[in-house]
């Protein structure tokens, strides 16, 4: 039980509690803020996994832009309408399925890990740095990169077309 594992458990507990807050709270604004906190904790987990560039991008893009958009839409629509309460059987089935899946995962994880992928190799000093990410991105993944930019353009145009008021 060294410091790193304790730190991981602390962050994991934070992450799980914020995620539970996201799905359980009535007020959508509180839910959105809990998701922002969950994304922030996720960025810290990325930092632990030697991915500083992706962590910064997570805060910049996800927590800083996408969630602001969510908050805008929540405030625009102002769902002050009371959300209909959950039929009990739904909640029970959901909880049962969740527990079943977790039991399955715990069962799989408890066996001896033969998979080579699960043994962490030591990585160089520049792993996860902007230079490494840029090298891999622009050498091996150029085509997806260009397609992603076209996709973003399509998304912007689509969103504007969907959300604008059609004048009568």
């Amino acid at each position: 039980m060294n410091v790193e594992v304790l730190g991981f458990f602390f962050l994991a507990a934070l992450m799980v509690s914020f995620s539970l807050l996201v799905i359980l709270v009535r007020n959508p604004v509180h839910s959105a803020l809990a998701l922002v906190a969950a994304l922030f904790v996720m960025a810290i987990l990325f930092l632990n996994l030697d991915a500083p560039m992706v962590a910064a991008l997570q805060i910049l893009v996800y927590a800083g832009a996408v969630m602001v958009l969510f908050l805008f839409v929540i405030m625009l629509l102002n769902p002050a309408s009371v959300e209909p309460s959950l039929p009990v059987w739904r909640g029970v089935v959901c909880a049962a399925c969740a527990l079943l899946m977790l039991a399955l995962i715990a069962l799989l994880m408890s066996g001896p890990d033969q998979a080579e992928a699960l043994h962490p190799s030591s990585v160089g000093a520049g792993f996860g740095s902007p230079e490494a990410l840029g090298e891999t991105l622009f050498n091996d993944f150029v085509l997806p990169f260009e397609i992603a930019s076209v996709l973003l353009l399509v998304a912007i145009i689509g969103a504007v077309a969907l959300a604008r008021r059609v004048s009568e």
Partner: protein
């Protein structure tokens, strides 16, 4: 191990005290400076035993006491938890971004080299932009939790303005990052010690003047200062997104705005004006291009560099205040047009031009 820990604690305390005190002093400069610009005497009502101290007693003693002892009023139908959270969200980013700003080169104490920067992370500038993008939440949540139409309007406009100018800010800095080839602020400042043609200090503004102008405009817009003042004193009647705040919570918004200005000034200094670089000052002393040299003890060199950084920082803070009291406010559509149709294409053109220049010259 304990030595390193205490060094980090000392540096943190120095940076925190610097930023917070500078925020207070900026409040004083704002009130007295605006009075000078507007040809009046400002802030002379409070005095201690007849000593008014040029408004220092009023701004630095009476104002904090007033802010901290006023009642923190929460609007009755608003969201109480969010109403308390919003000032913290507004104040936190501007303090945290100061962690990667270098305020000196190195300080050698007892054979140990101390890097005069709180945290040396290899994604420094990206970290600053990531944390600055969290500044929108203070505005949005503060506006929403106040249950007040004026607050909501101010908050929506403010957040739209902030996220628009974040884009222009990030893109205008890309040119500097391409020229210096690194995201780490201390490395960028050290690279600005290079002397072009042997005698011109290679500061960022020499390579990227257009980017400096774009970044300056975007930074003024990000910190919601006049002329981009719509979120706060929107109609000049009510105070925009912080209408329903009083006392200590308003102080956090107020000081948070000054801290944002200080952070923006620190960024401008670091990226474009050489940070702590004094022209021709190396680690051993002055090395003039004509051939002369003036060797100085390391402590004097460090002190000179830190004072140079502080001087440039204070100069840009003063420039922010001067612009605030000189220019009128933009209209909302003008703000949006400037951000998307003028600053963004100019930043992209700057990026393209820089890329072509770097490829051609190979610098």
């Amino acid at each position: 191990m304990w030595v390193e820990f205490s060094i980090i604690v000392a540096k943190t305390l120095i940076v925190l005290i610097l930023v917070l005190n500078l925020a207070g002093i900026m409040g004083w400069v704002e009130r007295k400076g605006s009075a000078l610009i507007q040809d009046r005497i400002g802030a002379n009502r409070a005095s201690v035993l007849g000593f008014a101290g040029m408004g220092l007693v009023n701004t630095l003693i009476a104002d904090p006491i007033k802010f901290l002892t006023k009642e923190n009023f929460t609007p009755p139908y608003g969201d109480k938890f969010l109403h308390m959270l919003a000032p913290c969200l507004a104040f936190f980013p501007s303090l945290v971004t100061f962690a990667v700003i270098p305020f000196g080169d190195i300080l050698v104490i007892g054979g140990r080299e101390i890097n005069l920067q709180l945290a040396n992370i290899n994604i420094g500038i990206l970290y600053i932009f990531a944390i600055a993008s969290l500044g929108v939440y203070g505005v949005v949540i503060g506006a929403w939790a106040s249950n007040n139409k004026f607050s909501l309007l101010g908050g929506i406009r403010g957040s739209a303005q902030m996220i628009s100018y974040e884009v222009a800010m990030g893109l205008s800095v890309m040119g500097i990052l391409m020229v210096f080839g690194t995201l780490e602020p201390q490395a960028i400042v050290r690279a600005q010690g290079y002397l072009e043609w042997g005698w011109i200090p290679g500061w960022g503004i020499l390579y990227q003047p257009l980017a400096f102008l774009l970044f300056f405009a975007a930074a003024v817009a990000e910190s919601k200062r006049i002329p981009f003042d719509l979120p706060e004193s929107e109609s000049e009647l009510v105070a925009g997104f912080h209408t329903e705040y009083s006392g200590g919570q308003f102080l956090m918004f107020f000081a948070g705005e000054f801290a944002e200005v200080i952070t923006a000034a620190a960024l401008i200094t670091t990226l474009f004006f050489g940070g702590w670089q004094v022209p021709y000052l190396m680690r051993e002393g002055f090395h003039f291009p004509g051939g002369g040299a003036l060797l100085l003890p390391q402590v004097i060199v460090a002190a000179l560099q830190v004072s140079a950084f502080l001087f440039k920082l204070v100069f840009f803070c003063w420039l922010f205040i001067l612009i605030r009291w000189t220019l009128p406010r933009f209209r909302y559509d003008q703000v949006m047009r400037l951000g998307w149709k003028m600053l963004l294409p100019a930043a992209l053109a700057n990026l393209l031009g820089t890329a072509i220049w770097i490829l051609a010259v190979g610098a």
